[in-house]
């Protein structure tokens, strides 16, 4: 039986798989530069190496979790958490810093910080929608008995 909700969650998961895979590959192609750029931020400072590898690792983990249906909800939660963290970082940088590096990877480097903020907020909403649809799918496929 074709349930539209599954199409939505598949599509949303695919969006984040695309997003994280693209940024991981872009960052991985020049990791020293990525570490150098995020190290320019006063928020990151000497933790640039740890944070850089953590971001790449968590993004890879999110891709794996999103790919498989039985871990997709976890992947969506992780995507939501990561986008929230990135958004909080961007918001903090916009409010506190005058010199803003960007280390987002690929074409995302071409966005302004405000554009990036708007994009991230949109992605948070999409992740939340994905979570809601996935939970409702689970409730439909495993209804609780009275």
């Amino acid at each position: 039986m074709n349930i539209p909700g599954s199409f939505v969650t598949n599509f949303i998961a695919a969006i984040f798989i695309f997003l994280f895979t693209y940024t991981v590959v872009s960052k991985s192609l020049n990791i020293p530069l990525f570490i150098y750029i995020i190290g320019q931020s006063s928020w990151v400072g000497n933790y640039a190496l740890v944070i850089a590898w953590s971001v790449i690792s968590v993004e890879c983990l999110a891709v794996i979790l999103l790919f498989f249906p039985f871990t997709r909800l976890l992947g969506l939660y992780l995507s939501f958490a990561m986008m929230s963290a990135f958004t909080a970082y961007i918001l903090g940088m916009l409010l506190t810093s005058s010199d803003l590096p960007c280390s987002c990877g690929g074409v995302f480097n071409e966005l302004s910080w405000k554009q990036h903020l708007a994009l991230n907020i949109g992605l948070i909403i999409i992740a939340w929608m994905g979570i809601r649809f996935q939970i409702s799918l689970r409730n439909v496929s495993s209804p609780s008995t009275a």
Partner: protein, 104 residues
């Protein structure tokens, strides 16, 4: 299978797009080293002479030059950086520098 279809397509597209993303020719710029000369905004030296006599830093990155230029005041570039293959023969020079340190 269809549960994996979107994911597979997304993976393939992401890897494909990242491969075709325009390569930033300046992606290694922070690690590039230059020969740094002290000049005014119009290319004039503090004193005339051969290019080597007003060399401030040799083979240093822009980050190093900005951190150590010790420049203050307005109305001039502090330092101009040239790749070793692009150094003017002498100053004053109208050659476009490869890098500059900003006015403080």
């Amino acid at each position: 299978m269809k549960n994996y279809l979107f994911g597979l397509l997304a993976l393939v597209l992401a890897i494909g797009f990242s491969s075709f993303t325009v390569d930033n020719k300046n992606k290694n710029a922070p690690f590039e080293v230059y020969e740094w000369y002290e000049v005014t905004y119009d290319g004039q030296y503090e004193s005339t002479g051969a290019a080597t006599s007003n060399l401030v830093f040799s083979a240093q990155t822009k980050n190093y030059a900005e951190s150590n230029d010790g420049c203050s005041g307005s109305g001039r570039h502090c330092l101009r950086g040239f790749l070793s293959t692009n150094i003017p023969a002498s100053f004053p020079s109208t050659d476009t520098p490869d890098e500059t340190t900003p006015k403080n």
